[in-house]
């Protein structure tokens, strides 16, 4: 793209007129092209004064509650989140490639949990009146993108998975796995979409406090459409994070 066109494309991106496909294109340019990234920053600075004319609206207090519990989850999982995460990912990749060749143990066939679209439902992150025991995991990619946030409610025996920055894979499915310290193979929790919240039942082992104390890792891998054919992850890990207690 000529410099001038690049500049205008950056302007359209910041202005907000691009459609979904063009936005994806702009976002990948943003990561790969320093000139484009600079052009976007310039436009952000040029246009943001327009917000002076926008009326502020006070958000409900529950918004902060949700932010604070997700932050607690993030900082509890690592002292230095980036290096820690990188280590976790390396570790996870290593173990995933081992699984590939390991004899497939007959794993209790977890019924692949259908992805339930609950876009219209109340947010599962809503602050409860009495504090309930909850665990949160922020599933991030190697380059720090926050793909999904998982919140597990111990008394409800369910967890909510919420897509954040994960993009729907072109041709394949995202599958969610739980990795327990003392189990050799990861357990599938089902396919996850990137359009809306999904509520899923938490298997009993995932609710086990001893397991949780030892550390239950969640990972989203990229699998063929419809999920890993043998019930074991074959594809690369896209996002991963540790389940940590988010309530006192």
């Amino acid at each position: 793209m000529a410099k001038r066109d690049l500049d205008i494309f950056a302007g359209e991106y910041v202005l907000g007129t691009l459609d979904a496909a063009e936005r994806t294109e702009a976002e990948s340019l943003l990561r790969s092209d320093a000139d484009f990234a600079r052009a976007v920053r310039d436009w952000e600075q040029h246009l943001s004064p327009l917000d002076e004319a926008a009326d502020p609206v006070q958000p409900p207090t529950a918004v902060w509650t949700r932010i604070a519990s997700a932050m607690a989850a993030g900082s509890a999982s690592a002292s230095n989140p980036l290096t820690e995460l990188a280590n976790q990912m390396v570790e996870l990749k290593r173990s995933l490639s081992m699984w590939r060749y390991a004899t497939m143990t007959a794993m209790a066939a977890m019924v692949a949990l259908a992805v339930v679209w609950l876009g219209g439902l109340q947010s599962p992150f809503q602050a409860p009146t009495a504090p309930e025991e909850r665990y949160v995991a922020m599933l991030k990619s190697e380059d720090g993108k926050m793909g999904f946030v998982v919140t597990m409610d111990m008394s409800g025996r369910q967890f909510a998975i919420k897509p954040v920055e994960a993009q729907q894979p072109q041709d394949g499915s995202y599958e969610l796995w739980a990795i327990m310290k003392d189990k050799k193979t990861p357990m599938t929790l089902g396919l996850v979409g990137t359009d809306a919240y999904a509520m899923m039942d938490a298997p009993t082992t995932m609710l086990d406090r001893k397991e949780l104390e030892q550390g239950v890792e969640l990972a989203v891998s990229m699998e063929p459409k419809g999920g890993a054919p043998k019930g074991q992850p074959m594809g690369p890990v896209m996002f991963a994070g540790l389940l940590v207690k988010a309530t006192p």
């Binding site: 907000g16 007129t17 952000e44 040029h46 327009l50 917000d51 004319a53 926008a54 932050m71």
Partner: protein
Amino acid sequence: MAQPQLDQLLRAAANGDQDAFRAIYDATSAKLFGVAVRILKRSDLAEDVTQDAYLKIWDAAPSYSPDIGSPMSWMVAITRNRAIDVLRKRTEVGVDDQKEVIEQEDETPDPYELTAQSRDLKALLGCMEMLKPDQRQCLLLAYYYGYTHEEISARMSTPVGTVKSWIRRSLARVKKCLDDG
């Protein structure tokens, strides 16, 4: 005025200071939530977007530097991007529930009517003066609501092709004017 203070708070938040982050939230959440509500027109979606935006701000605080803009414009950009992504995703999957739609007066914010304008806003509006009123309106509709070319075309009863070239030409003129400024 409030900028240097936000700068400092953001630096503290980058070092893991949660109280500083709370102070940032208190100072800016009404602005960011307002941005999200305007684009999404639904409180529940705007709440989600605001939550995501602050988590991203918390995560990305260490990488913030004044070179990439004021803290406020940086935070607004994160929120707008997230809001527009959600908006596009919804249009794409054809979600069309009218649930909880916030009734907004159908009146685009008018920065020209502001009594107090920052220096940057004055410069921008000065450059936008050069555009024809319709073309200026296209830019404002796009910025304030995240409308696509097609949506602007419908609102302004102007062919899409015309809207597209108006916007491109307007951006080029505004940019040149600001650079020459």
